[in-house]
Amino acid sequence: MTLNRKPPPPAAGRILDAQLHLMDRQVLDVDAVPVTTVDDLELTDVDPNAEIPPGSPAPVIISLLTGPALGTRIFGGRPPSRRLVRIPWTDVSDVSVVIRLGVSGEHLDAGWVQRWVRDKIIARIPGGDHDPG
């Protein structure tokens, strides 16, 4: 029944459904190093108090959001906007099974916890500052 309706007008670009193709996908940087997963998306604003004038440009994705989402997924709600880390959409190079970035993850805010653990804890363990072997 769902598939029997009239198809929408053909679009010029690739189609992405947020829940199916973007949310919860792993994000890899330009060197194929895992950076994070996508917890949410930030779009350009729509005034929540006014009707949308006909012909208004559609919102676009500004950034991928990641952050402390585990607790709010269990108990409901979402983390405050300021607690979410943003990866600009302009850094995204490809969307497939994973989302690939065209930049190094070493300088993204999304990986600061891992970098901190690596530099402050792991590196101080004897033998922890170089590859094994």
Binding site: A11, D40, V60
Partner: protein, 123 residues
């Protein structure tokens, strides 16, 4: 606007005035189950802007699982059949037909068109 705030919101039609009420005019139509984007916006060095093409509205469920209802995948039985039934009646409404996106609800324009949610190619 954060997309997570939009997903799950109830969707209402705009009541028609005087004319015969259509199938979808007025009343609660369902919940926002997903948002469909198209990569045809302003081009950048790595990709193009992802423009909101429309919203997928499901009358019975705000969640979505693997998108079986948007493809012709039939296996493994009975999962696709069950999930397709759970999302029966879901439709895609284009951005041009959305009149209002508030904090508590989404309202569609009068005489909006309900399109198929089918994806061209399953992924």
């Amino acid at each position: 606007m954060i997309l997570g705030d939009l997903l799950g919101l109830p969707v209402f039609g705009t009541p028609s005035r005087g004319s015969a009420a259509g199938e979808y005019d007025g009343g609660r139509l369902g919940k926002v189950a997903d948002a469909r984007f198209v990569l045809d916006g302003q081009p950048h060095q790595l990709t193009s802007d992802a423009r909101l093409l429309g919203l997928i509205v499901s009358p019975h469920s705000s969640g979505s699982f693997l998108g079986y209802e948007r493809t012709e995948v039939r296996h493994p039985w009975p999962l696709p059949q069950l999930l397709r039934w759970r999302h029966r009646g879901s439709f895609l409404v284009l951005w041009e037909d959305i009149a209002f996106i508030g904090r508590e609800e989404v309202q569609l324009r009068q005489g909006f068109t309900a399109y198929s949610t089918a994806l061209d190619r399953p992924e």
